[in-house]
């Protein structure tokens, strides 16, 4: 049976239904869009914040590390400066000690007995090193006389010790500022032995440094190896 045509009331109600339907659909779509919008809002915000936070954290971590390193450097500088001061003080004391020694050898030559004994020993030592038959002895002007006697005695000692003979000549070439002692020169003038008080002291100042350190300041606690 074909559907009969609608009357006015039915048309109206159908119209209203359709209008309502259209509106309903629109509202639902709108709601969907809003919900999605809120979700995206939250996600986007969280993403941006997290990103920037990480960047900021990295930045400050770097700053903090830099500050720590700077502090370590400062600390190390302090320790260094302190060590240098200590070493400087030691060096000053050492130099003072050496100058005391230097001034005391200047007065040694006045004790004639000990001085001539020293000269004799020095000459013998020189002879034994040179092992020559003819030697020139250089002394200070004021030592010429003492030297003559001491030289003879030295030649005798040398003959006794080594069984060899030596003859020597005297020359007063050393300056008067020298503390004393003798320089021996071989006959060919090619070998010189400086056995003056100044030179002996100078050599000892250098060679005795480890021993001096031990005696003055105590042994090194950080040292591990001794031959």
């Amino acid at each position: 049976m074909p559907p009969r045509p609608m009357n006015d009331d039915e048309v109206l109600s159908e119209m209203n239904k359709m209008v309502a339907f259209i509106k309903q659909e629109a509202l639902e779509k709108a709601r969907e869009i809003k919900v999605k919008a809120d979700e995206e809002f939250a996600i986007e915000k969280a993403k941006l914040v997290k990103q920037e936070q990480q960047a900021i954290d990295a930045q400050f971590e770097k700053k903090r590390k830099g500050a720590e390193v700077a502090q370590k450097i400062a600390q190390s500088n302090l320790t260094n400066k302190s060590r240098l001061k200590l070493l400087q003080r030691r060096e000053e004391q050492l130099q003072e000690l050496f100058s005391i020694a230097r001034t005391s050898i200047l007065t040694f030559a006045e004790d004639e007995g000990r001085y001539s004994q020293f000269l004799e020993g020095a000459v013998v030592q020189g002879f034994l090193q040179l092992m020559e038959t003819r030697v020139t002895l250089h002394v200070r002007g004021q030592d010429a006389d003492i030297m003559r006697k001491a030289g003879e005695a030295a030649a005798d000692s040398y003959a006794q010790i080594s069984g060899r003979e030596v003859s020597f000549e005297l020359e007063t070439t050393l300056s008067e500022d020298c503390a004393g002692g003798v320089k021996l020169v071989s006959s060919s003038r090619r070998i010189t032995i400086d056995n003056t008080l100044d030179e002996r002291l100078r050599l000892l100042e250098d060679k005795m440094l480890p021993e001096i350190r031990r005696d003055l300041f105590g042994p090194n606690e950080n040292r591990k190896f001794y031959t």
Partner: protein, 124 residues
């Protein structure tokens, strides 16, 4: 009846227009939300940055205190050690000077250990 039809169509068209408006509004809301996300995020980020900045500043302040303390401590230790050096020197210097001078002044001549005492023969 034609008049009713066009009326009906008109009503439907208007309903469609309303519907489109509603949807459009919700789309604008979405765009607004995206903008809000950005601006709120940047506000939070700034707050975070400032908090971190303050934390770092207090860390720096405490560290500066440590540095000046360290300086004072090291200086004190250094002057104690300096004094110890001087004291040790004063106590021992005479002994050391004597040792030094003895080595300078006392000579014990010896023949070189590789040589033998020659029976009157001359060397070279």
């Amino acid at each position: 009846m034609a008049a009713q039809n066009s009326q009906g169509i008109q009503t439907l068209l208007e309903a469609e227009k309303e519907a489109a408006k509603i949807v459009q509004q919700s789309r604008q809301y979405r765009l607004q939300r995206l903008k809000d996300a950005r601006s709120e995020a940047s506000r939070e980020i700034d707050e975070y940055r400032q908090a971190k900045e303050a934390e770092f500043k207090s860390f720096e302040a405490s560290h500066a205190g440590v540095t000046s303390n360290a300086q004072a401590a090291v200086d004190k230790e250094t002057s104690v050690k300096l004094q110890a050096i001087t004291d040790a020197y004063e106590a021992n210097k005479d002994a050391v000077v004597k040792k030094l001078l003895d080595r300078v002044l006392l000579i014990q001549p010896e023949l070189h250990r590789n040589l033998k005492r020659a029976g009157g023969a001359e060397s070279q």
